[in-house]
């Protein structure tokens, strides 16, 4: 039970955080220069966006829940069990970010999710 509560926190906070970060980065626009200094500049601009910090806070929550979870649960169960986050994340991207997911992408995401779940089987 404790494992499942922590798993739910990891999945929901993790995908929520990533969606918030993705939303923030869409505001920055496409990165075209990959010189180290240019990348630092992009990161500097990103760090001034509120949504990035919402994302970082949620991801931090997910990260520490994962740290705790990994201390008693097996890595070959925990890491693959986050397979749920592919479906949750796809729904979030569609609803919150307005991405248009075609049937091909849904099939791919479900296959990936299934594959990760199979890898979790002992």
């Amino acid at each position: 039970m404790r494992t499942f509560i922590f798993l739910a926190i990891v999945v929901l906070a993790g995908t929520g955080g990533e969606i918030a970060a993705a939303y923030a980065m869409k505001g920055i626009g496409e990165v075209k220069d990959f010189a180290p200094r240019a990348i630092l500049g992009v990161l500097g601009r990103a760090l001034r966006l509120g949504w990035l910090w919402v994302g970082v806070a949620l991801m931090t929550l997910a990260f520490f829940s994962l740290l705790a979870l990994l201390s008693w649960a097996d890595v070959s169960f925990v890491i693959p069990a986050t397979a749920l986050s592919y479906v949750v994340g796809a729904l979030g991207a569609r609803i919150l970010l307005g991405e248009r997911l075609g049937p091909m992408r849904w099939v791919g995401i479900l296959l990936v999710s299934l594959g990760v779940a199979i890898v979790c089987a002992p």
Binding site: S71, Y86, G98, R105, G108, I109, V116
Partner: protein, 191 residues
Amino acid sequence: MNASASTTKPSSFFACARNGGSTRGRRPRGRVRWLCQLLIPARARSPATKRIPMTWSKSPLLKTCVLVLLVAVFNSVGNVLLAKGMRQMGETQGWSLNILGVYFVRAFTSVWVWLGIGSLILFFVSYLLVLSWADYSYVMPAAAAGYALVPLLGHFLLGEAVTSLHWVGVAFICLGVAIVGRTPPSTTGRG
């Protein structure tokens, strides 16, 4: 006649290979380009791409491929290193804030945990960069290629057994990633 033909064939093949190996016209990133062309449909490649000289950061396709690869590798390497560090610490002794605080401080004395965190920071930076132009619903499953690495890394670094079922899962992941890779990376009109 037949005998002479069969004897000239191998020599001409090797001469060809030698010539091909030494010509200046060979593209240095041929293999990466080939991989991208395999994974991404022609309609996703803009015609403008072909006029731009092929350095990896100028092509939207190549830079998506390169960064997704970095995301996948840093993510799985970071997770495995972190797991190795936490496994060495054992289970928490309780759930009060004091005990948890001491536990987390103790976690940061582990070299493996620090290596894992370093790798996850690199993962996060490359993730943010690729999300500046590509769909979240594209990058997230594409980066799952890294989970195909987890059984390998778990096997070699943590000594976990990898069953044939695991390899079936790895095959599903690879198939799913290949299918997602054939959809256009951005559907929101940016990038």
